[in-house]
Subunit: 151 residues, 4 copies
């Protein structure tokens, strides 16, 4: 459905957006603590990756919903951040997560995109996939609002 409506990638106001997003990601201790890594960074799109670790799981060995959320939220925040002016920071205002299937896999990838980039508020959607070999399965969806904050 989205392919019909997705606009072409907008020109990001910060020409250095990719390096700025990498710095933002590196500045968040929790990402290293969880073992997450930044993947794709493009205007309005960011992916994050996380290998399976048993200490991040709930009682059935599935990735805990809080960790699922940390990945989706940071992917959305990064996606919104790529379209923000130089000197911005980004904060989450709110998000909603639907858990579609157990987050069971060898690795996980969160893919986020901006659906509306505003001066202050941006609305993003993200999907989390569980990977096993070359297969991947959709396990969670996020719909989120991110806010640009002047540094």
């Amino acid at each position: 459905m989205n392919s019909v409506v997705d606009p072409p990638d907008p020109a990001p106001p910060n020409p250095d957006y990719a390096a700025a997003t990498a710095r933002l990601f590196a500045a968040q201790p929790v990402m290293a603590f969880l073992g997450a890594e930044l993947g794709v960074v493009a205007p309005g799109r960011v992916t994050l990756e996380l290998p399976y670790r048993p200490e991040l799981c709930q009682q059935d060995g599935f990735l805990h919903a809080g960790v699922v959320t940390a990945l989706l939220d940071n992917a959305c925040g990064g996606a919104a951040f790529t379209l923000m002016p130089v000197g911005s920071s980004v904060l989450a205002v709110e998000f909603k997560v639907n858990l579609l299937a157990p987050a069971a896999g060898e690795a996980f990838v969160a893919r986020a995109e901006v659906r509306r980039a505003g001066r202050t508020l941006s609305v993003c959607q993200a999907e989390l996939f569980a990977q096993r070999g070359s297969e991947e399965k959709l396990v969670a969806l996020m719909q989120a609002t991110m806010m640009a904050v002047a540094r």
Copy 2:
């Protein structure tokens, strides 16, 4: 507003609900990994506590929204679980979080309560407070659906 409508604590169908909830909590490796501890366990109500740790933070030294969510989600799951029959497990179906203020403090407490306990689906609300000495400040709200799963 809630005081008008909160029902008296329902009689939990599992008379051993408190010990069962403690076992459920202990069975989740991510809770120890984050450093969270189970607090109050009552019919339809659970609290979780977490001391501040810099490795759980985002770029400004505030508790990351994913960790905020992990606490709120587990408190809601626990609250719903206290009212489930013997032999149940609990899974999150979906949740929504509004972040009201930076999660900055010496410790954090999530307080959840069941607003509707159904046979399969329960709806819960939770609040996260940041504590500094004897003061506490509301920093996040969750509205969530939890599902009972027969073991």
Copy 3:
């Protein structure tokens, strides 16, 4: 749970907040179209009322979720508006609704309160009750973000 944390009613920056809220409500054609009426207006709190009408229902004779949302959303918007400066208007940014029970009754009342009043963004919660004689039953919950817009 809320009774512990609810602050005393804040002093509204617009001393004429009650009349302004009534004008805002009257300016929305959809409220008359649905048959909704403004109830309580207090700083940070608004209620709306709606008598049962079969044309507002879904296939089982319950109030349709869109109408449930219209009431909850307008109650939240009104509650946020009571705490906004003179010359503001209010727009919904986002909301989430959990439907707890069929919205079956002779009349419905939505009660909203502000949980965080910010300069631009306010976070509100609301509850919808179905009434039959002197009894009322909780049927839906909303958690919403409202935005102040300068006129």
Copy 4:
């Protein structure tokens, strides 16, 4: 983003799904009251259309968020219903709406698709577009849970 992950249309368990969805829609008085019409009905996908009417608007002449929600919710419910077994009915469990832009236009169309079709719970996403001549603009997003109920 979705084009990568959208599965081929699943075979609906109810071969008469299109007529059943039309009957479900016709059985909801609120749809006629609002003036909404059923558009596309395909396995896992439904669209609804609504011409502009001033009585459905808020104070600025934009479609009210409750009406926006009624369209998105019914499109999601219909999309989920197309994949349900013969003899089912559908109820909304919860939904979240982000309002991206004022709902200003000559007509509106809600497009919903199922992202996960479960035996009991289905998760759907929907988009609302405002149309003016041959142009359309994305104005709202929904992420929702629908439940199959045996008649």
